[in-house]
């Protein structure tokens, strides 16, 4: 699996290196996005000291997590699954299904947009800087909990996207569903705990943004409750199995149009 991933990463890199000017455009876009997100935090904290008992550097760390997830999704998940949806529509998925590797793995990593790594690195930098500003409050336990919850968040987001993409076997315009995810993802720039109950519920149970961004940020801020962590573990496990089953069910349904 790792070998396969390395191959696709190298391919993605070669592809992007062919368009080097794109690097500057992407850097610029990442920076603009970062300025917007962090600027909004700055404006809010120029008027108040806490936001729902989050301090300014804790919220900055949350923005960092937001960038890491954003970069991860845009680097692999979004381009690969868009390609997959196209393949289903055009019948070219046949070529993937006949390959001697696991088809779900292949469609999940088939396209890599290398420059989006910038967002991930930017996010790591922001988290690192915020943690230093928070001072010695961060213990090694918090740091490892952060790693674990980030991984769990990644698994949850991945399973969620795979399940949405699998819908492409039945419906034609599934890309639009991803647009719903992105509209909701904007809400992840702030801790979901500040939102009113109904919105918190949507962002936790329907679109799992709470687990993708807020929970890892809670871990780094040393405010993660053990219950939340177990919930994340449970949800990640359930979603991973469920998405796998759903994918298999979808593939069976696929009839291969033309090609």
């Amino acid at each position: 699996m790792l070998r396969l991933m390395a191959v696709f990463f190298r391919l993605g890199m070669l592809n992007e290196l062919a368009y080097r000017a794109n690097f500057w455009v992407q850097t610029f876009e990442s920076l603009i996005n970062a300025i917007m997100v962090l600027g909004a935090v700055g404006v809010v904290f120029s008027q108040t000291n806490t936001l729902g008992d989050w301090m300014v550097w804790e919220l900055t760390a949350l923005c960092g997590v937001y960038f890491i997830m954003l970069g991860g999704i845009n680097m692999i998940l979004s381009p690969s699954l868009s390609q997959f949806i196209d393949d289903v529509r055009q019948g070219t998925l046949d070529f993937t299904l006949t390959k001697p590797e696991d088809a779900q793995l292949l469609v999940s990593i088939s396209r890599v947009q290398m420059w989006k790594l910038l967002d991930v690195m930017l996010g790591i930098g922001v988290v690192g800087y915020a943690v230093r500003q928070l001072g010695d409050q961060i213990s090694w336990t918090d740091a490892s909990l952060f790693g674990v919850s980030l991984l769990l968040g990644g698994i949850i987001v991945y399973s969620f996207w795979i399940m949405l993409a699998t819908l492409a076997f039945w419906f034609i315009r599934v890309e639009n569903i991803f647009f719903i995810f992105w509209s909701m993802y904007n809400a992840g720039r702030w801790p979901v705990t500040i939102y009113p109950g109904w919105l918190k519920w949507i962002l936790t149970a329907i679109v799992p943004i709470a687990f993708a961004v807020t929970v890892p940020a809670e871990a780094i801020a040393g405010r993660l409750s053990i219950d939340t962590l177990w919930l994340a573990v449970g949800l990640a496990g359930v979603l991973l199995v469920a998405s796998r089953q759903f994918w298999k069910f979808g593939v069976k349904h696929y009839a291969g149009a033309s090609a």
Binding site: F28, N33, V43, T48, A187, L199
Partner: protein
């Protein structure tokens, strides 16, 4: 003039039918339009409660009033021109539109109005539900409410012409993502969507009062919720009209230029 009215009637009929046909994607766009103001409404309300009830003289109920009206005004004045223009030129869809005997901007205006007409079935319930959920403190000042209507119309025209002109950059380069992102970033802060302008840092506030962004969203909003004096309202209208004139000037002068540059890719 009657020709013009007939033209718009025909365009609107086509556009409305199309928007109803593609209602699912249209509805999906609305999620962001409704959710974004709610996010900032909540953020500022929470901040106000944390700092003893008000922030910059505004209580949670004032933020609720501001952002619910903003949700409506931003919906009425927004355009999606800058996002679609790239595809138009890149895939050559624009060729057909250029062959029509009228300026292509008319079809875009009709499309925009049609989308908003169709989506009122979503927007009005959204506003009603938000009023019920967030208990806004509406201050009804009759003259200000009456003045807000032309202010929204002017805001729409300024925003439409300005964004349409910016979209023409596509004729020179089809890689407009960076320009669009920058524009949207500036717009978020300067049009009062991230925060009411009074809560922005001082330097930004000074710049906002001369740039067009404030007048494309926040000005009609602040007028409607009764935060402006008659003198401030008059100033606002003056600047709106100046920017409208400027935008019209720019659009007519660049259009001819841009057309000469146009070479369809594909088609």
């Amino acid at each position: 003039m009657t020709d013009f009215l007939n033209l718009y009637k025909a365009f609107l009929r086509i556009s409305t039918t199309m928007m109803i046909q593609y209602r699912a994607s249209g509805l999906i766009w609305m999620i962001g339009a409704v959710l974004d103001p709610i996010i900032f409404l909540v953020v500022w309300s929470v901040a106000a409660r944390a700092s003893g009830g008000t922030v910059g003289g505004m209580a949670p109920s004032d933020f609720a009033a501001y952002y619910i009206v903003l949700m409506l005004v931003n919906h009425l004045t927004f355009t999606w021109i800058m996002e679609v223009f790239q595809y138009r030129v890149q895939y050559g869809n624009f060729n057909a539109e250029l062959l029509r005997p009228v300026h292509p901007i008319h079809m875009d205006i009709a499309d925009n109005i049609a989308y908003k007409l169709v989506m009122t079935v979503v927007m009005i319930p959204a506003v009603v539900i938000c009023v019920w959920l967030f208990e806004p403190n509406f201050v009804f000042i009759p003259w200000a409410l009456a003045a807000a209507l032309p202010a929204v119309l002017l805001a729409f025209l300024v925003r439409f012409f300005l964004e349409w002109t910016l979209a023409l950059v596509t004729f020179w380069t089809t890689r407009t993502q960076a320009i669009n992102r920058t524009y949207f970033g500036v717009l978020m802060f300067m049009s009062g969507r991230v925060a009411p302008i009074a809560l922005l840092p001082g330097i930004l506030q000074d710049v906002t009062s001369v740039l067009p962004f404030y007048y494309m969203v926040a000005f009609p909003v602040e007028l409607a919720v009764g935060r402006l004096s008659p003198a401030e309202a008059m100033d606002g209208f003056m600047i709106q009209i100046l920017w409208l004139a400027a935008a019209l000037g720019i659009i007519t002068s660049t259009w001819r230029f841009a057309l000469k540059r146009f070479s369809a890719v594909g088609g």
